[in-house]
Structure formats: structure tokens, C-alpha cells
């Protein structure tokens, strides 16, 4: 009997063991096992799309040290450009930044993420991919372009002045991720190499309108790499040049047009619509749709309280800076001057004096209290009181407020200007078709940028026209129009369908212009700039190209006007070493429309903002890394 029992036991245990241990081999339902990766054509396509995916969301977030909310990859940098600002405080401009900041950590980390994804593809596709040789070759070329793009961003932010960044060109294990910086020039060489490989790849198409890398994009980026090395600017305005490289840059920029790219002629404002996001001007852009998690978050952070966004309103954390709007010339290309419209305006140093000109009307033409739109009631008495308070605070301009006609006078400032001004910004007393969605009422409504805000700016009745406001409504600012969605079509403020352009043809033309300026071929530079200005019917005058210095500044201003809210200017100002002057010395802070500072900027004493520091924790972990000179660790 005992034998019997022993036998039974053995049978149970052994049968259990052998028949069933494979239930322990579970695998995730939402991921591919690494063993099957790169082995099928689908997984190869997905692996390469994964590199593109690293283009998403690497710009800083809406709040200081809040990176994960995803500010998109382009307009997140706009706040540091001449025409942008953040409503709240942030350490980079307040002077309190240090190498431990999330700005540096997350940017560094996210760009290297792109590098590693590209390395994975470049290493594994030739070895494993079952796709055709032609397809493999094209995908590797795409991966190399993307790797070059990520290293470009790393090098221009963290690798300046010869320092460079660590270079990894193959998949790496954690314990081997301990390299020190390769010199800046070596990183540029890698970038040029990768782009040259892409350009030389027969299977990479000249032009693409689906969002993938093309030869034209590779030429444009390589030209930019040459330009960056060909002209190096110092803070005192001196330029060191390498004409060979500048000529190479020009040659590459010429090739972009030959690949089939060109300026979109259907209107500047229309260029930034879904219909035209794959037009011939868009050489390379980050691709979006309005599906959950696939769109840009511009509506939430750049749109106002009245930028409709499905179930909740926009916030307006990021607004345009007045310094950017002043750059837009009059229609005849003469520089804009406040004194032409409001005599003596520029001499007013007290913001309280200037404020008077921006106030709303309180009386109608016949001298009666103004009625509100929509409900026909008298203008809110709180608004009238606020107007009186502001007028009373003025010292020199108390008598300049026009109860009727104040709005018309300030409107003159914004009329007869470069049309890009109104296309890029919502200026005072201009309308915007938004929608109020806070309590769920989804009606499109025209709202106005006005000051002071009426009580209807928080929650207007359906029939009222509301006053636009930022999230806290405490300052009168400009608002962005570019990349802000009108009407009530947007399902979610987190998911705007518009692509984010990284390189468009106007950009190539103006780079080329810059190269010509540095080569002192000013006529050619003018011709390039003219192409861009002709689209908006702005004359291009010889005066702008009178000598090299004037031309250099003119091309720069043209860039500042053209690329608002595309996250371009910050990188330009850093490269030109004009950031401190333009942003801190002139701008001084985040400002309301009349130049009132509500958030002061301070250039730090101990740290050099012209180069971003290797993140503190990375220095602590990896002793092979050199601390970034100019930063206090």
C-alpha cells in the first residue's frame, strides 16, 4: 500500500511539472518581444517609426521644471524667442537656473533617446531585416538623417565652443554608457557624414509628402550644418568665417529647390492649415493628427481661455512678447514707429502712462455709456471703474484717454503693417473666432482682445461677445494666432492635428541669405529674402542690404518675423549670440502690450546661458564627462 501511495504522489507531481510549467511563460500583450524585433518587415517599419516618434514632445513644458506634459517639440521653445514669453515664472530666465534643472536633464535624455532608437535600426536592419534591399537602404538613410537631427540639436545646445557631446553610434548597454564628450567638430563631422550617406542613398526619394525623410530634407539639414560651422558669431558682433563651408552650405541649399521643394504661394496664413501641411514648402515636419495622443498641445498652452478645445478651455500660458510685434514693418517696408501713430509714445517711460492708449471705449459716438454686444446692456460698471483707475494712475497722459475712439486709435497701430503681424498674432481689439467650452457649452463665438476684462471674460452668456484672457487674466497681452485653432472643431485641447514644421523652404531661403551675407554677396542675399517677402506682398528695399552689417541684421529680423511660434528664433539667437541682448537687455521680462513687465528676466551671474550644461546628475554618475565650462556645478 505504501508503495502505492508513493507511486500516486510521484505521478501527480511529475505530471503536474511536465505538463504545466509552460503556463509560466507569459509575455506582454501590448509589446513585441525583443527576440522577434527587426525580423519581420512590419517590425522593421515600426522600429523606424519609433525613431520618428522620438521627435514628439521634447520641448519644455508649460511650467518651470514641468517637462512631461509635452509642449510639442517646436512651439515650446518659442517662449525664449524674441516674440515669445511665458506667463509664469521659470528658472531659465529668472536667473536661478542651475545644472540640475529639468530643462537640461529632459532635453538631454529625450534627444539621446532618439539617437539610441536610430542606432538600434542602423545596427539591426542590415543584419536582420527581411525587407527588400532597396527598402532597407531607404530606411537606414532615414535613420541616419534622424540621428543627425538629434545630434544636431544636442551639439548646438550642449556642445558649443568646442566641448561637444558623447557620441554613440551603436546600441549600448547601461554599463557601457559612460563615454565622455567627443569634440564639437567630431560631432559635426558625424552629422555631415550621416547626412551625406542619406544624400548618396539612391533609394531615398528627392521629395516626400507623407512626413518621411527625403533627400531635400537631408540637403537642407547638411546645408544648415555647414552654415553653423561656416559662420561663428561672438557676443561682441565679430564673426569668424570659413568661406569653403559657407559655399558648401549655399550649394546644399540650392539642391533643396532642385529636389522639388519651393515656397507655398497660397497665402502665409493658409500655409499653417491642415490642407497645406504637406505642400512643397514643408520639407520636414513632425506629423500629427487630431487623434488622442497624436496631436500637438498648442491649443492648451498657446490658445487663450477662449480657444475652444472640446471639453475644457485653453490656458494661454505662453503669449507673444511685444518686442516681437514691433519688428513688423509698415506696408511700405519702412520700420514701424509708435510715434507715427501716437506722437510722443516712445518717450513715455512709465508703463502706466502708455496703458491709457490701450484701454477700451466706454462711451459711444453720441456720448452715452456704451452698450455691450449681444445682450445690449450697459457696459459693466466694474469695467468702467477699472478704466477710471488705470487712467487715474497715469501721470502724463491722463487727458489722452478717449472714451470714444480710444480703440480706433490703437487699431491704427496694427493696420497697414506687414500682413504677417495679424496672421501671427491676435492684436488688441482684433477678433478671434473661438468658443467657450468651460461649462460645456460648445458654441463658436467671436471674442475680442480688450482691456480691462469684463466679467464676461470668465464665463460669457452665449449671446455675449467675450474678452479674451490668459489663464489668470491678470495682464493684457498679445495672443498667438498661428497654431491656434479657430471655431469649435477641435475635440481636445491636447490634440491639435497640425504638423509642426521643422524645416520649411522659407527657412532654407533665409539660411541661404545668411550664407550670402557672410560671403558678402549682398545682392544674392537680397534676392533670397525677396522671395520670402514677395509672398506677403512686402517690398524688399535696397536699404536693408546697404552693407554687410545692415544686411546681417535685416536677414535676422526677417527670420524673427517669419517663424513666429515655430520654435526657431531661440536657436537662432543662441547661435548669433544675440540672445542676451534681445531677450534680457532689451526685453527685460515678460511684458504686457504696453511694455509693462510682469515677470522680470535676469541673466545669471554664475552661469553662461549660451551653452546648456551637461546635467548635474549625469556628471555625478559618469566621471568621464567634462563639466560644462561657464556653469557652476
Amino acid at each position: 500500500m505504501k508503495k502505492n501511495i508513493f507511486y500516486i504522489l510521484t505521478v501527480i507531481i511529475i505530471s503536474g511539472y511536465y505538463s504545466c510549467t509552460d503556463i509560466l511563460d507569459t509575455t506582454p500583450y501590448n509589446a513585441l518581444a525583443s527576440s522577434s524585433m527587426w525580423q519581420s518587415e512590419e517590425s522593421v517599419d515600426q522600429g523606424v517609426a519609433g525613431i520618428y516618434s522620438a521627435l514628439y514632445d521634447w520641448a519644455p513644458g508649460a511650467y518651470d521644471a514641468d517637462f512631461d506634459k509635452g509642449f510639442g517639440s517646436t512651439f515650446g521653445f518659442e517662449r525664449w524667442g524674441v516674440a515669445g514669453q511665458l506667463h509664469g515664472a521659470e528658472s531659465l530666465t529668472s536667473g536661478s537656473i542651475n545644472p540640475g534643472s529639468d530643462y537640461f536633464k529632459k532635453t538631454w535624455q529625450k534627444l539621446y533617446e532618439g539617437v539610441h532608437r536610430a542606432n538600434d535600426a542602423i545596427a539591426n536592419i542590415p543584419a536582420k531585416s527581411p525587407a527588400s534591399a532597396e527598402k532597407n537602404a531607404r530606411l537606414i538613410a532615414e535613420a541616419k538623417f534622424l540621428r543627425a537631427y538629434f545630434y544636431f540639436r544636442l551639439n548646438e545646445l550642449f556642445g558649443r565652443d568646442g566641448l561637444g557631446v558623447p557620441v554613440y553610434t551603436e546600441p549600448v548597454a547601461i554599463e557601457d554608457c559612460t563615454k565622455g564628450q567627443s569634440p564639437e567638430a567630431d560631432v559635426w563631422a558625424l552629422i555631415v557624414n550621416d547626412l551625406t550617406d542619406a544624400i548618396n542613398e539612391r533609394n531615398l526619394p528627392d521629395k516626400d509628402n507623407t512626413g518621411r525623410v527625403s533627400k531635400g530634407a537631408a540637403y537642407a539639414l547638411r546645408g544648415k550644418a555647414y552654415l553653423y560651422q561656416g559662420a561663428k558669431y561672438a557676443e561682441d558682433g565679430t564673426v569668424s568665417k570659413d568661406e569653403t563651408l559657407l559655399n558648401k552650405a549655399v550649394a546644399d541649399f540650392e539642391e533643396v529647390g532642385k529636389c522639388g521643394y519651393g515656397l507655398f504661394q497660397g497665402g502665409y496664413k493658409e500655409l499653417f492649415t491642415e490642407a497645406n501641411e504637406h505642400c512643397a514648402e514643408m520639407i520636414f515636419s513632425i506629423q500629427h493628427t487630431g487623434d488622442t495622443d497624436y496631436g500637438t498641445i498648442s491649443q492648451k498652452f498657446v490658445g487663450s481661455r477662449f480657444a475652444y478645445s472640446g471639453t475644457a478651455n485653453g490656458w494661454g500660458n505662453q503669449t507673444p512678447a511685444p518686442a516681437g510685434t514691433d519688428l513688423y514693418e509698415n506696408l511700405d517696408s519702412a520700420p514701424f514707429n509708435w510715434d507715427d501713430v501716437i506722437p510722443g509714445y516712445s518717450a513715455l517711460t512709465e508703463p502706466a502712462d502708455r496703458a491709457v492708449y490701450f484701454l477700451r471705449d466706454t462711451l459711444d459716438a453720441s456720448g452715452n455709456i456704451l452698450k455691450q454686444e449681444g445682450d445690449g446692456k450697459l457696459l459693466d460698471q466694474t469695467v468702467r471703474k477699472k478704466v477710471r483707475d488705470i487712467v487715474n494712475k497715469a501721470v502724463n497722459t491722463k487727458n489722452d484717454y478717449l472714451p470714444y475712439g480710444n480703440e480706433a486709435r490703437i487699431r491704427k497701430v496694427y493696420t497697414n503693417r506687414d500682413p504677417r503681424l495679424e496672421a501671427n498674432f491676435i492684436t488688441p481689439y482684433a477678433g478671434f473666432i473661438g468658443g467657450y467650452s468651460f461649462a460645456g457649452a460648445g458654441n463658436a463665438m467671436e471674442v475680442y482682445s480688450r482691456w480691462p476684462l469684463g466679467s464676461n471674460s470668465a464665463a460669457p452668456a452665449a449671446s455675449q461677445r467675450a474678452d479674451m484672457a490668459t489663464d489668470d487674466g491678470s495682464n493684457f497681452t498679445y495672443f498667438h494666432r498661428k497654431f491656434v485653432y479657430e471655431g469649435t472643431g477641435l475635440a481636445r485641447r491636447e490634440d491639435g492635428p497640425l504638423d509642426e514644421p521643422l524645416i520649411r523652404y522659407a527657412n532654407v531661403l533665409l539660411w541661404q541669405a545668411e550664407a550670402y551675407v557672410e560671403l558678402n554677396q549682398l545682392d544674392k542675399a537680397k534676392a533670397m529674402v525677396k522671395l520670402v517677402r514677395d509672398r506677403v506682398d512686402m517690398p524688399t528695399l535696397d536699404a536693408g542690404f546697404a552693407n554687410q552689417t545692415i544686411a546681417r541684421n535685416y536677414v535676422r529680423d526677417e527670420r524673427r518675423r517669419e517663424f513666429v511660434n515655430e520654435g526657431v528664433d531661440f536657436f537662432d539667437e543662441m547661435r548669433w549670440r544675440t540672445w542676451k541682448e534681445m531677450k534680457f537687455n532689451r526685453g527685460k521680462g515678460s511684458q504686457g502690450v504696453w511694455g509693462n513687465n510682469f515677470r522680470a528676466y535676469t541673466w545669471p551671474v554664475d552661469n553662461d546661458l549660451y551653452i546648456w550644461p551637461v546635467p548635474q546628475t549625469e556628471i555625478e554618475k559618469n566621471p568621464n564627462l567634462q563639466k560644462t565650462p561657464g556653469w557652476k556645478y
Binding site: 501511495i5 500516486i8 504522489l9 501527480i12 503536474g16 505538463s19 510549467t21 503556463i23 507569459t26 509575455t27 506582454p28 500583450y29 501590448n30 509589446a31 513585441l32 518581444a33 525583443s34 524585433m37 515600426q46 522600429g47 523606424v48 517609426a49 519609433g50 520618428y52 516618434s53 522620438a54 514628439y56 538631454w108 535624455q109 529625450k110 539621446y112 533617446e113 539610441h116 532608437r117 538600434d120 554613440y168 549600448v172 547601461i174 554608457c177 507623407t210 512626413g211 506629423q287 488622442t292 497624436y294 472640446g310 471639453t311 460645456g440 457649452a441 460648445g442 466679467s455 464676461n456 470668465a458 464665463a459 460669457p460 452668456a461 452665449a462 546635467p615 546628475t617 549625469e618 554618475k621
Partner: protein, 1126 residues
Amino acid sequence: MDNKIRFYTPIPIFILGVCLFLGVIPVNSFAAVNETYQQAKIVKGVVKDGNGEPLPGVSISIKGTTNGTMTDVDGNYSLNVPDGNSTLVVSYVGFKTQEIKVSNQTTIDITLEELSKELDEVVVVGYGVQKKINLTGSVAAVQADKIENRAAPNLSTMLTGLASGVSVRQSSGNPGSDGANIRIRGIGTFDGSYRSPLVIIDGAVADMNSVNPEDVESVSLLKDAASASIYGSRGANGVILVTTKKGAKNAAPKVTYTGIFSQTKASRVFDFISDYADYMELYNMAEFSNNPKATSTYDSEEIAAWRAAKANPNGIYTDPDNGNQVPNYLAYPNTNWSDILFAPTYSQKHNLSVSGGSENSNYLLSLGYYDNPGTLENTGIDRFNARVNVESRITKFLKIGTQTYAMRQRKDPGNLDQVNTYRFQTVGGIVPYYDGKYGAPESPKEKNDVRNPLRDVNAIGGVNTTTRINTTWYAEAEIYKGLTGRASINYQNYFYDSKTYSRHLDSYTFRKGTILQPGTTLKDATTTRSYAKQEQYTANVTLNYNTKFAEAHDLGAMLGYEQFYFNKSGVKATKKGLLSFDVTDITTGSDMYEISGNPNESEDKNKPEMDYAMISYFGRLNYAYKGRYLFEANFRRDGSSLFSPDNRWGTFPSFSAGWRVSEESFFEPFNDKISNLKLRASWGRLGNATSGYYDWQAVYAKARYVFNNVISDGVAISKIANPLLKWESVTSKGIGLDASFLNSRLTAEFDIYDRLTEGILTSPAIYLTMGTASAPTKNTSDMRNNGLEVTLGWNDKIGNVRYAVSGNFSYNQNKVVKYLGKLEEGWVDKDGKRVYQSNIGEVTSAGSETGTLRVEGHIFDEYYLRTRYHGTGTYYNNDGSVNPQGGPKDGMIRSEADLKWVQDMIAAGNSFNGASVKQGEGLWYGEYIYADLNGDGNYGNNYDRQFTGKSSSPKYNFGLNLSAEWNGFDISMTWAGAGGFWYYLRERGANQNNLASKTDILPLDTQSKFYYLAYNKETNAPVWDDPRNNLTAEYARLRTGGNGPYAANDQYLYDATYLKLKMLQIGYTFPKAWTRKAYVNNLRIFVSGENLLTITKYPGVDPEIGGGLNIYPISRLLSLGVNVSF
């Protein structure tokens, strides 16, 4: 591998097990049948207890055979006996077994002698039962009488205060989510989701709160490794075994009904300012305090009008715009939102059960209904449940049975997130609900979008339905003498089905009678349907062998095999745009809005299907010599899918021993005083699998992208794999002592333990240069808990009054033994300069806003805070220089001299963490300054924080149970509490001095709580004699704006020690003599209260739930109940 195959493998195992048992049965079953039925005769009689009460259900069998019977309700029995030589064995739980020789008798009346209970007390342990007296591990048992007839919402909350070493704290009052967090012997690991004990219901892992408490027979809490290691890798946090009731053998059907009706009311809420005029005035003051030149938000006419209206609530308000007329109480509301949101309501519970049995079968059927509308609207639940427990002996040697349970719960879909956010951002000047309409702000000065939280919680319609099935089937066979086998399979299915949709709720201004905040439009309305499913099975086979040899040696052995598989998945779909607010089916939605995975998973959008599996072998060996020396060994070997094939198997042994000193001959002289004295000691090892389901594997996860306006997702490595991942290992050691004195009237239990968790899983940060893929999870850290537990009980009788008192107390000390390295800080000489250095950033994980830090050598997540500056108040030295020790005595700048001292300090080169003297956000009257603990001249920078020795986990837990009975009356109460824990509280509405945004709620005692100083509006000079001033207040100045110079400091750390009267019940049982006439066997009525009283100094809402104000309060239940059985 294919899931279907995974799922069906256990059934063959079960069937195989049953067949194996069946296969051996014939061998025995025919062996012993022969000798019965010779000179048969019938013996009859009555069995009574010492008081002469008849005992039903007493087992009477003939020694040496399996023949037997049971007494009926009146204690009568009748039995065929083979001959006069037969001996009757009369046994009954709780009574001494008697053996009676039949001889010539035909009527044998028997009086059973009551046992001192403890000798016979049996407790459920892992895969079996054991006599309590023979236990060598630490097990606390709770019997049905503590659980039956309770109004409390679920089983877990009923365990409060009943067992030592067990912390039971209810986490919320939200119906359906109001279970308790149970911690046995402290916090075992870092990750909060892996600290709960394993709960086994009738042999299978299950959700404790899914069981109907009225069905529960007993609950065992296995506290140490000796008792829990039979559950191996899942027992690290202790094990709770729940056993459900069974029908009695040979018993007539017993029908029991229990009904409880309760008034449900929030036990504790926080009071905010509801008087809107007061609010406006205080807001203006706060604004003024921040910037005297700012225009006041609320004008004085408005405030005056509001006050006047309050004095005359029924006066008529006429709107200047449209002439609408309403009474003042609608035009000028002063709403107390705490009372409105958490309003009293009524709940009820009904339970009906039938149980009984025959010779070979027994059964229990039960049905339950529970309805709790919740104190917050639109959050209620109702629940039906049903249970069938049936067991039948189908052959002499084989029993089969089932325990099957089904439950269906419906919950209202109220949007708690919205309420939780906005109830702290609303004002009293809103009518909550009147005449079918929700109110909006009445004052035209108020922000129009201030929300009505009552509307928010009701703005979503629909129902969330949860259905559970939990069914176990088992077969038990006696294979050979002393050897039994058991095969069982448990299947559980949890199904969640939710349909929700937007409701159109407008908010009105009653003054105008018009809509101010329009509800959702049809275009924007959404409709959502979601499902989630969890399935699991557990199949196991065990063999049990018990024998006794040479009279002195008791030997027991158990071997088992178990297989477990769990899978969860779900889908959620939302459409936008409805045809009508009355037609809400998802098919009528117009636009596809969103589809995502499992709706029951947390915020993570990545909610895919997930599964895991385990295979286990386990065994136990018990040996006792003369009932004096007890030894036990357990082992378990687990294989888990959570780890790589190379690391997935782990072995978890335990050893324990007991010495019953009272059985020794030398102890005899003491036996009349000390009836039982046992020493216990144990050592064991357990595992805790705290990683995600697939953390060891390298995988490529979805990476979003779009080409050509079409979603074209890519993949990328999302988490770096660690194939070396393995279990966290817990080593637990303990010694204990059990004793009973004075004829078991006094009992005592004493335990001390040491519990060391090693290899706690963390994800240490990796190089940023590695990219964004998550760092691999690794076994890195160690943590220790040690403590002691005491339980004392006393029960006795005074005259007709039986009473019992039992108290338990436990102390636990927690320490992180190994983490990122030693904390080293201090002054060092560097290049000839004295420099303060600290490696705090490297050896701690990022601290939270409330100032906790995780670091080696300290309590887990210990508070690490600044302290307030304390000076002498003399300000200057004799030479006129500023004296750093001379500042304000309690660290608040209250006077001109204080402020001047601060200015002079800064001028002398000191710093107050970089803050400057200025009115808005700077150092100013009514702001704090902090102590410079490291002496670097910077007052209150990061280096001035210090460890407090305090954390939010209780060091002490205590409970007290009292009960008494007299002439049918009974009373019982349970007190429970916890101590030695602290919460950091600085929240709007409680004690936060600054109103960060307009309409932030203010506490009722705002005026006396916060510092206030008035200013001259023109000159900005302080007005020191303004009547509104409060210069001696405890908290910083009332103002608008940001946090200013505030930094987390120990002033806001509060002792959360509490003691609660969790339960008080008074009942009366009608005399059986009366009730029998109505064929009622038992009739008891009772009144009870749950959560009646809380004693605490903690200033937040409820220290049991947690620190903050943002909670759904626990309910106080006042109940009336009846219990009747036939």
C-alpha cells in the same frame, strides 16, 4: 503560447486528482465492511449541558465504527447499536468527549461537561486546521460572532481592533471602495501596492471585500513566517484565511434572517466658512495684506447687502435688470458645502440563510442584499449576493463539495474627481439645489465659472455594475488510515461593466431666474461604455497524513501541488455627440472620441491585457512528543511567470517549535493557577513578488507616430529589462508565549518578532544618456520591522452576568537598512575654505512636497523638515551689531523690531533662503523664518532640514473589546486606534495661510487662526491698532498670492494618534420559551453604532483615512437590527 490552453490545463489536473483518489478507494472501502449488524438494538436518550439545556447536533457514534447519529433540536437521539459491548462516543464542540458503555441500557441520558474552551479550540491554518494549543506560529483568529450582525460595510473594516499586530484602517467612506487597508507587522516593502496581506477565501486567493460577512465562519490572520510560509512567495505580508460557514451534519433546516437598518452620516467633516459676507471680507483682507494698493475684489456695498439679507432671509429681492423676485435666502445664499455634500442618508442590509444536513450531506444557502446610497449624491451602491456551500459523501471514503458565491453590485457613477477638485474652490454664495435647479454664483462680483460641486457630482449619469463569481469544487478522500487526499479547483470571474453619459445640468442664478452656466450641449455630450474582466483559477492537490505511534509521538505530514493563473483585460469606448439626453446608448453617439484599454487600471493610458501564473509545491511536517514538545516545518517552492526562467523558482522554508511547559511534571504544582503555558519560537523565509508582470523581459512597446495623416505607430524599447530580477525575500523570526491563568479566566499572548525584507525592488536612476526608457527594476534595498504584540483577555461571570474583556496592543519599529548609501553631511575643509557638504541628493529618493525622505538608517519615508527659528527677542548685541540669536522668539515676524532685525541680518550677510524683505511674496509681517541648523548663516535653506523620527505609518496599534450578557441582554463594544504616526498638513481650507487662487475655501476659524495686520491704504504703513489685527496668531499671515517664503517645516507636522469607538451593540434575545411557541428558535433585536466616537488631536478630518481634507468621510452608522432563526 495560446491562452486557451493555459486556461484549461487545471481541469484535467482536478479530474486526474479525483480519479486517483477513486482509484484507491475500492481497496479500502470493502476491507472493513464485514463485521457490523449482529444483535442490533436501539438506544435512545437526551443530551443536555450542565445547565440542563438540551444540546442539538451532538455527535454520538459507536466506538471503532463509523456508525453514528446526531441529536435533534431537543437533544434527543436514537441509535442502532450492534450489542451491549458497544461503547458510545459522545462528542460536541466545546464539550468534553464522553465514552459510555451501552451494556443493557436502552435509554441513556447524557450530561456533557463543558470544556475549558481553549483546549479544543481549532484554528484554520494554511491548507488545514490545527488545535490552537498545538500552534507554534503566530496566528490570530476571529470567530463569526465578531462579524455577524454588523452594520459595517464590509469584512475588512470589521477586523478593526480585533487582533494584535494588525493595523486595520478604512481608506474611504465611498460606498464600494470603503475597504480597509490591512498591514500585518508594519510596512514590508517600498511599493505601497504590495504591502497588503494575501487573502485566501476557502482556499483560493480572493478579494476580501467580495465575501458577504454574514457567510463567514472564521478569519485567521497568519502573522509570522512559521504560519505563512506555506504560502511562500505570496505570504510576505502575512496571510488572512477566510472560511465560510457550512451546514451541520444531521441537522434540521435552520432558517436565519438578519436585517439591519442604518442611518448613515459622515462621521467627521471639516467646517469651512459658509457665510459669504465673511468670506468676501476675509478675501479682501487677504488681498489687502498682500498688496494694500490693490483694488478690493469685493466691494463693501456688496458685503453689506449680503449681511443685511442674512438678517432678513425671507425678505424679497427684486432684480434690477429683469424685475425677478425671490426671497433673500435664494438671492443671498450662505451654503455650508460640507453639510450639503455629505448629507445623512439611510442604508440597509438583509441576509437570509438556510443550512442543515443529513447523514451524508450538508448545505448552506444564503442570500444577501445591501443598499447604501452614500452620503454624497450619485455615489451609492446596491449589492446582491448568493452563496451555496454543499458537501456530500458519495461513497464511504469520498466527499465532494462546492463553495460557490456570486455577487452583483451596482454603483452610481458620480464624478468624484471633479468634486474633489472643485469643492475646495467654491464659495458659500451659491444655492446648491432648489426647486429642481442647481445654483450658480449669485453675486455679480464673483467669477462666473465658480462651480457648484453638487451639480458636478450629478453631471454624469449611468451605472457601473460589478459581477463576481467565485466557485470552488473539491473532492476529499480517505485513501488509507490517517491518509487523506484532497483535490480542488477554484475559478473566479470578476466582470465590470460601466455605462456612463453626460447629463445636461444648467446652473441658475436665482436672482435673475436665468441660466448662468449652461450645461453640456448635445454636441459635446459624451457616452461611454466600458468593460473589464479578471479571471483566475487555482487548482491544487494535497495529501495529508496523521498518525500516532508508541502513544507519545504524534506525526503529521502534508504535501501539495498548486497551479494558479490570473488574467485581466478590458476596453473602454467613448463617443461624443448625442441625439437626446434621454437616449444615451453608445450606438447613438455621433463621433468616435476615444477607445482605450482596461478602464479599471490607473491613469496610465497603457492598460493592456495582462496575466501571470504560478506553480507551487509545498509541504508540512508536524511532530509532537507527549503533547509537550511541538515541532513544525513548512516548505514551499514557487515558480512564477514574473521572473525569467533562470530566476523564477524560489524555495521558502520555515521551522518552528513549541514547549508546553504546563504539561511538564515539574509544573504540576502550578497547574491550578496556570492551566497553560507555552513557549514558541520560529524562523522562516517568505517571498514578495512586487514587480510588474513582465519587468524581466526586453520588449518593444508602442511609440506613437503618424505618416501622411494616418496613425502609423512605431515601437521602441520602453523599459530596460533585467533578467536577474527575483523575489524580495523576507526573513521573519519570532518568539512567543501563550498562557492561561485562573482556570482560563485570564489568557495572555505575547510575541516579539523581527522581520527583515531584503532585495526590495527599486528602479535606481540610470544614465540620462541612456534615453527615456525606464530604468530596469532591480533588487536593491533592505528594510527591517521589529516589534512586540500583547493580547490579554479576561472572562468571567458575576452572578448572572457573563462578561469578557480583551485588549491588544502592538508596537512596530521600522527602519530602512539598505538603500542608496549612507547619508553624510557636514563641514569640510576644501581648498582652505570651510564648506558644507551633503550627499543627500545621491542617497535619497526625491523627497515629496510634504518633506518625507527615504534614506538608510531611518524610518521608511521619514519626515525631514525645517524647524522654526527660535530667538531671544533681544535683537542686538551690546555693541549694536545684529545678534543672530536675538531674533523673534517663535520664528514669526510679528513686530517692526522683528522685521528690522531680519533686514539687519540680511545686511550683515546672512540669508533667509534667498528671500528678500518685501510685502508681496517676501519676508514680511506675519511670515515665518526658519532655524539655521547647520550654522552656515543661511536660515532655512535645504541643509537646515532634519530628521524628525516620525512617519505616517503607525508605530502603535491597539484595540479593546468588551462584552457582557445578562438575562438575554447583551452588550459589546470595540475600540480601536493607532498611535505614533504623523501627517504633514498644510492645505487650503485648513491651515494654509495664502489663498493661491480666488474662491479657495477658508476654514471656519480663519479669523483667529491666521496672523493679520492692517495697512494704511495710501502710505502702506502698518496700522498697529486696527481692530481686525491678529498679531498673536499661530499661523502665518492671511494673504493672497503664492507660498512666499514658506518652506515645509515641522509646525505643520501633526500627531495623528487616534482612538475610535468603532462599534457598540446592545441586543436582547427573547426567551426561547416564548419564541418556541411561534416556531421561532431564536429572536434577537439589537441597536448598534459604528464609528461612534473619535478621540484625536489631529486637526485634519480623519486620521484613520489619511492626512488631507480631500476625502470621502467614513460613515457613522446608527442601526436597528433583527436576527431571527427558525
